[in-house]
């Protein structure tokens, strides 16, 4: 054989990564002179896990800041207490029993139907409820936001090239100086991370906007990192499970491959080929 099979496998793998590389080209080409900060997230890498304390603070930022416009429509409150989630507590394997989760749910008001009368009423949320919609419909959302539609945030980190780095930088890039020849439309802010440089969201974070219970200083960078950590979890909630299963699977397959290699050598021992 001219080429080693393993080399070909690796080449092929590189080939598909290269052609799918567009999905990995962080930030896109419209960032101009703005330098994206590549943060060392704790969830990066084969053994990375979510920074639970950061993600918990991130939920607070979401609740107190982002949730005035952005929904988390694919999440239920109970997800917050799942294994691998920010508020997981091993004393409550069923997240519906987790008192923190119950409190978070009760903090939201959920539109519901009275079973007796059929009237529409508001009741406090329970862990099984989904995160409610912020606006009654898209038109209402646009009307409240100068024509811009605040995107759902449940899969936002997966839905942007650059992933967590994109979201983190987007939240920080408001401080960048606008090029002199650029004209900003009404209701738009300059943000070099956004495609085209204009964003309908006004700078959402400012120093000490929230008060963290754990005493962490609420700088803009801190809040941006925390909410990104939370949203990264929300986009890929089973990541920790996937990586730990992956490790065992890879180990198992490696051992199996070695055993099969020796079996193969043994079966073919006396055979010229």
């Amino acid at each position: 054989m001219i080429f080693n099979v393993k080399i070909i496998f690796v080449t092929a793998a590189l080939f598909i990564i290269t052609f799918s590389g567009q999905g990995y080209a962080a930030g896109g080409s419209n960032t101009g002179d703005y330098k994206m900060v590549h943060k060392q997230w704790q969830f990066n890498g084969a053994f990375g896990t979510y920074d639970k304390a950061s993600a918990q603070r991130g939920y607070q930022v979401y609740r107190e800041v982002c949730s005035s416009c952005h929904q988390l429509k694919h999440l239920s409150f109970r997800h917050l207490g799942d294994q691998g989630a920010p508020f997981y507590d091993e004393r409550y394997p069923n997240p519906n029993d987790n008192p923190l989760v119950k409190n978070f749910a009760a903090d939201w008001s959920i539109e519901s139907i009275d079973g007796e009368t059929g009237d529409i009423l508001d009741r406090p949320g329970v862990p099984a409820d989904k995160f409610p919609a912020i606006y009654p419909n898209d038109a209402a959302a646009r009307a409240s936001n100068g024509g811009g539609l605040p995107p759902d945030l449940s899969v936002i980190v997966s839905a942007r090239n650059g992933g967590a780095d994109y979201i983190y930088n987007l939240l920080l890039a408001y401080e960048a100086e606008m090029p002199k020849d650029m004209v900003m439309g009404p209701g738009l802010s300059y943000n070099p991370v956004m495609d085209g440089g204009a964003i309908a969201m006004v700078a959402p974070l400012s120093e000490d906007l929230v008060e963290y219970a754990d005493g962490t200083k609420a700088t803009v960078e801190q809040m941006a990192a925390d909410v990104t950590e939370f949203l990264a979890w929300s986009s890929d909630p089973k990541m920790e499970q996937r990586k730990s299963t992956g490790l065992m699977t890879m180990l198992y397959l490696t051992i199996l491959a070695i055993l099969l290699w020796f079996s193969y050598k043994r079966v073919w021992k006396d055979v010229e080929h």
Binding site: M1, V5, I16, F19, G23, V155, L253, L260, V267
Partner: protein
């Protein structure tokens, strides 16, 4: 399966009874003892790998179909629900999505192996054509399946691909509407795409049956392309190739598992995590990586219809390849000139893939900077034109002409001689 005399002897009364009525155990036994050339290398393990890919896609696909909802308002949410709430959905969904890529990776290796060793030549033309059919239906299935998650790339990919049919003269528009079930990609389209995506894998499975039948009728080709002549040229499929295939399958699974567990999104597009929106076109509509070379051929010409003709032609030409290649020598090992043209062909297939992923007007190979400070050079449109020309020239010019003018190297008389040299003919059979 035919091709070699059956050595199966039913041992029990029940198997004897069954054997005279439906010799299904005999078929399995003959399959396992099928005499395979003794010199098959690892490139020949991809048939087994592909069988595994098909089985994996069908099993994960059926389970996903139990949880997926083919409705424009619910499809995207149901995929999220599978990943978040369905037991092991977080594993099954990436297995199916990554599995499609791995399936295509394996089929491309399998096809290039066939091209290199001349596995399409007599008497294997029908075997090759069935393979081409399988590949064609795989492409259809892959495209239909990519529509189902109903993300932005699903929707706009489906819009672009079905738009091709609109370019057909006279009947194009009605054909497109018939396919879509309306004037645009919508719920009717999603429903029929789901139905067909569920159907086609079983068509593939049927064709795989025919493919294996044809293979066992004519016998496997091998790296030197010399037909097996004696018993010494062959080994029983089991245990020799079951163990070799088994090892290769596990190595393949390691790569598969790496993507599932550590890079589940590397082969997809971020845009497909945004729910389909008919009013918002993504800035770059790019197909999945396994369609990129054909996408580059499509965009290589300015005329839409001609582009489609070329793209389809790039696949159709594979069907007639057995009659285009005039050389009687199967393996490129004995074709010193053709071998080089083959590697250049492979190179240009990669180039086409690269072109398909890039914006056509961008510069692929910069030559320098002009007076205005703009980078000059070969853009992707022209690079894909060069590669497209070579792609077709390889099949319709190079292979037909080379077969007539090339002097092949001396070939061994038999596989046995190739393996052992001319001297020792003893001790080639394994000790029983």
């Amino acid at each position: 399966m035919s091709g070699h005399p059956s050595t199966y002897e039913p041992k029990y009364a029940a198997t004897k009874w069954l054997d005279t009525r439906l010799p299904i155990v005999r078929m399995g036994a003959d399959f396992m003892t099928f005499p395979s050339p003794r010199n098959l290398n690892y490139w020949y393990t991809f048939g087994g790998i592909l069988t595994l890919c098909l089985a994996s896609q069908i099993i994960t696909g059926i389970i996903l179909a139990m949880h997926y909802v083919p409705h424009v308002d619910l499809a995207f949410d149901s995929v999220q629900r599978i990943r978040r709430d369905v037991p092991f959905g977080w594993l099954l969904q990436p297995m199916h999505a990554v599995g499609a890529s791995m399936f295509f990776l394996a089929v491309y290796v399998h096809m290039f192996r066939g091209l290199y060793y001349g596995s399409y030549k007599a008497p294997r033309e029908v075997l090759w054509i069935i393979g081409c059919l399988i590949y064609l239906i795989m492409m259809a299935t892959g495209f239909l399946g990519y529509t189902l998650p109903w993300g932005q790339m699903s929707f706009w990919g489906a819009t672009v691909i079905t738009g091709f049919f609109g370019a057909v003269p006279v009947v194009g528009e009605s054909l497109q509407q018939w396919l879509l079930g309306g004037y645009a990609v919508d719920n009717a389209t999603l429903n029929r795409f789901f139905a067909l995506h569920y159907l086609l894998p079983f068509v593939i499975a049927g064709l795989v049956g025919l493919h294996v039948w044809a293979l066992h009728h004519v016998g496997q080709n091998n790296p030197i392309g010399i037909t097996t002549k004696t018993k010494q040229d062959t080994l029983s499929f089991h245990p020799y190739y079951t163990i070799k295939d088994g090892f290769a399958v596990v190595v393949f699974l390691l790569i598969f598992a790496f993507f599932i567990f550590y890079q589940p999104d590397a082969l997809g597009h971020a845009d497909n995590y945004i729910e389909a929106d008919a009013l918002k076109t993504p800035p770059h509509i790019v197909p999945e990586w396994y369609f990129l070379p054909f996408y580059a051929i499509l965009r290589a010409v300015p005329d839409k219809l001609l582009g489609i003709v070329l793209m389809l032609g790039a696949i159709v030409v594979l069907f007639v390849l057995p009659w285009l290649d005039t050389s009687k020598v199967r393996s490129m090992r004995f074709r010193p000139v053709a071998k080089w043209f083959f590697w250049i062909f492979l190179f240009f297939c990669f180039i086409l893939g690269w072109c398909g992923a890039e914006t056509p007007d961008n510069i692929a190979i910069p030559f320098g900077v002009d007076a205005a400070g703009q980078v000059r050079g070969l853009n992707f449109t022209w690079l894909s034109r060069i590669a497209t020309i070579y792609y077709f020239a390889y099949f319709v010019l190079i292979l037909p002409i080379l077969g007539l003018v090339e002097t092949p190297k001396d070939r061994p008389d038999s596989i046995t001689k190739a393996v052992l040299g001319d001297t020792k003919h003893t001790a080639i059979l394994p000790a029983e």
